[in-house]
């Protein structure tokens, strides 16, 4: 196999990888939007932050 053929094969692999990634993120974003539309009316779950003075010492 010539060096050019190996390079072309690698190029095809890279193109497949990039298109696959783009397709994955496209479908994921669509599903995320649909999920957001269906769940946006629900109340967000309760969240209790760490007490402020502890937050300060965490940043130091």
């Amino acid at each position: 196999m010539s060096l050019g053929a190996v390079g072309a094969f690698l190029l095809v692999l890279i193109v497949v990888f990039v298109i696959g990634n783009l397709w994955f993120h496209f479908v994921e974003s669509l599903l995320e939007r649909i999920k957001h539309l269906l769940t946006s009316r629900r109340d967000p779950p309760a969240w209790h932050p760490l007490p402020p003075d502890e937050e300060k010492s965490r940043d130091e």
């Binding site: 397709w23 994955f24 209790h48 932050p49 760490l50 007490p51 502890e54 965490r58």
Partner: protein
């Protein structure tokens, strides 16, 4: 000799960081659980693995949820509080009282998670280890002794089979 022994020793736990995180876990837990000091704590996590097939792209996604797991031997109760790896906050607690749950056991495969079925509709699988180094996914805490105590409690007092 000194160089190689250091090289092959592997990663070491930063106990200062671990103790600070354990303290924060306690603060968060006590904030949402009544009489929180009567519970012993460990860090645990859940794993949600979902398969996807988007045409020519398919694989699996894993979501990890961090938990503060508290247990009280005299009350035969396990409390699970969801939180985030940076310990900036936590959610509402869920109580699993032995007298109320459907079943509890320790899994063998694929992981040795602690499984609790509160009813027939769902279950929680709690994974826990002595120490997990990846701070972006897990809480940095060393808990060898506490994990051994929790395992003993779960296997000998809480498990139903």
């Amino acid at each position: 000799m000194g160089f190689f022994s250091k090289f092959f020793k592997g990663p070491e736990v930063d106990m200062e960081k671990s103790n600070a995180n354990a303290k924060k876990m306690r603060l968060l837990f006590n904030q949402v659980v009544e009489n929180g000091d009567s519970y012993r704590l460990i860090f645990g996590y859940t794993e949600d693995v979902a398969r996807f097939n988007y045409g020519f792209v398919h694989g699996s996604k894993t979501k990890i949820g961090n938990l503060i797991v508290g247990w009280n031997e005299s009350m035969q109760t396990i409390v699970v509080v969801p939180m985030v790896p940076d310990l900036s906050g936590c959610g509402d607690p869920t109580y699993y009282r032995r007298s109320e749950i459907l079943k509890a056991y320790r899994n063998k495969y694929p992981t040795d998670a602690f499984i609790i079925y509160p009813d027939k509709k769902g279950y929680i699988g709690i994974n826990a280890y002595d120490w997990l180094e990846d701070e972006s996914l897990y809480v940095y805490v060393s808990q060898e002794e506490e994990l051994a105590a929790f395992t003993d409690f779960f296997m000998n007092q809480f498990a139903t089979k």
